[in-house]
């Protein structure tokens, strides 16, 4: 490629300058960056709420928070962490990394990724603006009726929560369709499904799971709003409805949801282990099959969240078996990761430290999950601090630790600089140590009889000491989080410059410059094995020929990744933002009146029409042809 062609390519893929460029960009990296910054900010806010709760519980009978404030705190903390941080941050990492790992210049549907962010932001505002206005949802992160129904929760808090979910659900579905289409149809030549990096398998599976699970929560929250707004009787026993129908629908989504959070982390761990062990993953096929098994099994477990509601015993027995079965593929994966490190030549830089912390921590969470999977034993464990410990161990240990490792790992690619190893290791010890100190005691507290979601407890029950230890540990972890973020910010200016491949990476994203230009790659890389960067002895094999004067991406075949055609890739557009605003108005309005669905549909329809309106010349034939003079 000549220098002129390179310059043209850069111009073609450039965003308009300034604020307009910010609002109209469809560059997956810019959108992912704003997503990740948003989730970090929300992680911090959720962490502050957690500290607040921990302080309230550090001793019996404390009166820092009244029950209303406490209930708002745990509801906001849980809802933020699950709907506004964990899933979105995984989507964001995928949005940033998937095209790079595929050697492509953008995702399959560029404007859809922008739309996804604006809807997500709508969800953030939907939850946090009411908090600023003191109408915070206060019934937990899964608001069971009848408590959340019209009789026991007047006002709009429950509707606000339900509609926040609608925002984030639409954002997640849009992102997932984008990722699936990109991974299935836009792989580089030679990247057959059997030669696809494990991270891409993970994102493919997590996105497919999202597509199949999120409709359930969309449906159930709409049914709840409907019961509250237009007097339907879905969950009202007096009208023939069923309280448990809500729980079935919610957990049909809710259980896959936690695997939607965990499966991308499997991808992070595999990528980091490979590179830092300096050998390809042991057991590639076992890893892929395990991920598929987890993805499928995750849909058959939801009743284990309902073991105490009085369902027939024989049903509970089935779900015990299924819930234990899912530990099998997870156990296989643990072996494969450790085996790769065992037989490799590990380098213990910060990303690998996070993987070690993941292994040590996540397995505890998995095992406490196996314990809770036994339906009769769950009758002692569920709704106690044992379960609080369990899910924090799997979410923090199983998703957050790999995420922090992934952040350190790909930071040099995104920014061109390395994070400080010294401060990174300090943050690591504070977070990993603080978390375990903070949350291990909660297993014991649950076994000592402490239920969940209580704003205080009596002194006679002897729970004070462990609660104090838990508070101290949590505070240490939050401090570690602050160190981590400060390291990330300071390293932007003062980090050691990283070239394209500071770690000796195996996959294609390490072939791009650091940071990548807006068009990512000057050429289309060819995949020759599972570790193309390690194979590239006399230069990486690449193909040329995509246009430089217009935006183009390569589309390849489903299984064998044979090049099929060149797809025009859409450039910057304001319509995702406009559509996002229109959809937000519809969602917010429909909390107050069902007519918002009808009237709100008009601006949405207009915005979508303008979005999809093709730009081609006027017709020259037919009844509406342009008359040429």
């Amino acid at each position: 490629m000549t220098n002129e062609q390179k310059a043209e390519l850069t111009r073609t893929w450039a965003d308009p300058p300034g604020l307009w460029g910010f609002l109209t960009t469809v560059d997956h990296k810019r959108i992912a960056a704003r997503y990740i910054c948003s989730t970090i900010a929300l992680l911090f806010l959720a962490g502050m709420l957690a500290l607040d709760m921990r302080l309230q519980l550090s001793q019996p009978g404390m009166q820092r928070m009244d029950p209303q404030e406490y209930n708002e705190a745990f509801s906001l903390h849980g809802s933020t962490m699950l709907f506004l941080v964990s899933v979105p941050v995984m989507e964001a990492m995928a949005l940033w990394l998937v095209p790079l790992m595929l050697g492509q210049r953008n995702v399959a549907f560029p404007r859809l990724s922008a739309f996804s962010y604006w809807l997500y932001l709508g969800g953030v505002l939907m939850l946090w603006v009411p908090h600023a206005l003191n109408i915070t949802p206060d019934l937990g992160w899964f608001e069971y009726p009848p408590l959340s129904g019209p009789a026991y929760s007047p006002g709009h808090r429950a509707d606000i929560w339900a509609q926040m979910i609608t925002f984030t659900e639409v954002a997640a579905l849009a992102a997932s369709v984008n990722i699936v289409a990109t991974i299935l149809k836009m792989r580089p030549p030679g990247m057959t499904l059997a030669r696809m990096p494990l991270f891409l398998w993970a994102m493919l599976i997590a996105s497919l799971m999202t597509i199949l699970a999120l409709p359930s929560v969309m449906l159930v929250t709409s049914m709840l709003i409907s019961d509250r707004l237009v007097a339907t009787h879905f969950f009202a026993p007096a009208g023939g409805g069923d309280v448990l129908l809500f729980q079935h629908l919610f957990w049909f989504f809710g259980h896959p949801e936690v695997y939607i959070i965990f499966v991308p982390a499997i991808g992070f761990v595999s990528a980091i282990v490979e590179v830092f062990a300096r050998r390809p993953m042991f057991g590639y096929r076992a890893m892929v099959l395990s991920m598929v098994a987890i993805g499928v099994l995750a849909f058959g477990l939801w009743v284990h969240h309902m073991f105490a509601v009085g369902l027939p015993r024989i049903g509970n027995a089935f779900y015990t078996a299924a819930s234990m079965a899912i530990a099998f593929p997870a156990g296989i994966q643990i072996f494969c990761w450790i085996a790769t490190l065992w037989s490799g030549r590990p380098r213990f830089d910060t990303p690998l430290l996070w993987i070690v912390a993941f292994l040590v921590t996540f397995v505890v969470g998995g095992l406490s999950g196996v314990m809770a999977a036994a339906a009769p034993l769950d009758l002692q464990l569920t709704d106690t601090y044992f379960i609080v410990a369990h899910f924090h161990y799997v979410l923090v240990g199983g998703a957050m630790f790999p995420l922090f490792g992934a952040f350190c790992f790909w930071y040099p690619k995104a920014t061109g600089r390395l994070m400080s190893e010294a401060w990174g290791k300090l943050a690591f010890w504070l977070i990993a140590g603080g978390f375990n100190l903070g949350f291990f005691p909660m297993h014991l507290l649950g076994l000592m009889g402490m239920p969940r979601r209580v704003y205080t407890y009596p002194a006679e029950l002897g729970w004070g000491t462990l609660n104090l230890v838990a508070t101290i540990g949590s505070a240490i972890a939050v401090l570690g989080g602050v160190v981590f973020v400060v390291n990330a910010l300071v390293s932007l200016r003062r980090g050691k410059p990283a070239g394209p491949d500071p770690w000796g990476g195996a996959t294609l994203e390490w072939a791009a410059p650091s940071p990548p230009p807006q068009h990512n790659f000057d050429w289309m890389p060819v995949e020759t094995s599972l570790a193309p960067m390690w194979d590239a002895k006399d230069g990486l094999a690449v193909m040329e020929g995509l246009a430089t004067g217009s935006r183009e991406v390569l589309v390849t075949s489903l299984v064998e990744a044979e090049p099929e055609y060149r797809q025009h890739s859409v450039g910057p557009s304001i319509w995702p933002l406009v559509s996002g605003l229109a959809v937000s108005a519809l969602f917010v309005g429909s909390i107050f009146t069902p007519w918002a669905l009808v009237w709100g549909a008009l601006p949405v329809g207009a915005a979508l029409t303008l979005w999809f309106w093709p730009t081609r010349p006027r017709a020259t034939a037919g009844p509406f042809a342009r008359r040429s003079g």
Binding site: D66, P67, N71, Y144, P146, L147, Y152, P237, V243, L244, R278, R279, G283, A308, G310, A317, T320, A325, F328, G331, I332, I334, F335, I338, L341, W342, G344, R345, R347, F348, V356, L359, V360, V363, V364, S368, V370, M371, A373, A374, P376, L377, L379, Q380, T382, D383, T384, G449, P451, R452, Y455, E460, L461, G462, T465, L466, A506, S529, A531, D535
Partner: protein
């Protein structure tokens, strides 16, 4: 049959070492058949999961130890042969499968044992969850009538009580961890849980499903009595409210049974037949007020009547303004209702 078992304590000693365990609301000190079976299952789980974790840590530890010897920054190995590891994977997979089968099997055995107890129930109790208190009714074996009380459960030692669970408003959960696992109280359904306590004493139960602002203050006392004590207690509960024996008590009785209290509370044998709040026919036979929130003393009673929302914010009990003399009379009367 439950006998004190030193082995149990040794297994869980570290847990107790860290805490000053009071033991009245914990699955770790089982006094009932159900809780004992679950404790055995917990012990099995801790052993199997503990061994599993130890294996993971051992493998990881070996890996980290081996890595000490790796210093050079060689280029990566692109196509390693992994025969030993494949073999190891098969063994590991087998161990995981065996472990899970053992645990699933243990779960099924315990589940079956628990279901048998429900069929052998001797006593029927109905507990209805309210925001934020417990309506408790006993089926009188003689007359088949329901004898009502609130917030305090008495159980005969060595007999199985079948507790029928319902809710008057939102989802609650009935949980006496020392005796049995929890069971939710779901509006529109009747659930049930069997309790077979073997040891005398006082234990504590607490609501275990978030039910609104005072979920944290929805506890109940559980007393396991000898069969004779239980029969005596039930007989006493069957009686109507104690009559007033002096003018002050009579004034108190009048305010309670004919005044605002009667709208929500019932005292059997008096004109007070309200059902919205707890039955207080034998209020003073109980040990706590407002579902485990306050002690049962004259001062606490007076404070509760005058300013319930200051003591339990969000409670449905309205503040009842009484003159000082009336408040005094009412509290004196209420503490005679044994």
């Amino acid at each position: 049959m439950v006998r004190p078992d030193p082995m149990k304590w040794r297994v869980l000693l570290p847990a107790f070492a860290v805490t000053s365990c009071s033991g009245a609301q914990t699955p770790l000190d089982p006094v009932g058949d159900q809780a004992s079976q679950l404790f055995s299952l917990l012990t099995l789980m801790l052993w199997v999961c503990g061994i599993a974790y130890a294996l993971v840590l051992a493998f990881l530890g070996w890996t980290l130890w081996r890595a000490r010897h790796v210093l050079e920054r060689d280029p990566p190995e692109v196509a390693p042969e992994d025969r030993r590891l494949n073999h190891g994977l098969r063994i590991w997979a087998g161990l995981v499968a065996v472990g899970l089968i053992i645990l699933a099997g243990g779960s099924y055995v315990v589940d079956w044992a628990l279901s048998r107890a429900e069929r052998e129930a001797a006593l029927e109790v109905r507990v209805t969850g309210h925001q934020w208190w417990w309506r408790i009714e006993y089926r009188d074996p003689a007359t088949h009538q329901w004898i009502e009380t609130a917030n305090e459960l008495h159980l005969p030692q060595g007999r199985t009580a079948l507790v029928l669970l319902g809710s008057a408003d939102v989802i609650h959960s009935f949980w006496v961890p020392n005796v049995a696992g929890k069971m939710d109280m779901v509006p529109g359904r009747i659930n049930q849980v069997a309790l077979t306590p073997r040891r005398l004493g006082w234990f504590r139960g607490q609501c275990a499903e978030f039910c609104g602002s005072q979920h944290a203050h929805m506890a109940f006392d559980v007393y396991v009595d000898s069969p004779a004590q239980f029969a005596a207690w039930l007989t006493a509960q069957r009686q109507p409210a104690t009559a007033a024996t002096d003018p002050v008590l009579a004034r108190g009785a009048q305010v309670v049974t004919q005044g605002p209290c009667a709208a929500c509370h019932r005292l059997r044998g008096t004109p007070a037949t309200g059902r919205a709040g707890p039955d207080i026919t034998h209020l003073a036979s109980r040990h706590a007020l407002a579902a485990g929130t306050l002690p049962l003393t004259r001062g606490a009673i007076q404070g509760w009547i005058a300013q319930p929302k200051a003591l339990k914010p969000g409670t449905m009990m309205p503040a009842i303004p009484l003159s000082a003399a009336d408040a005094d009379a009412v509290s004196r009367y209420l503490v005679t209702l044994k």
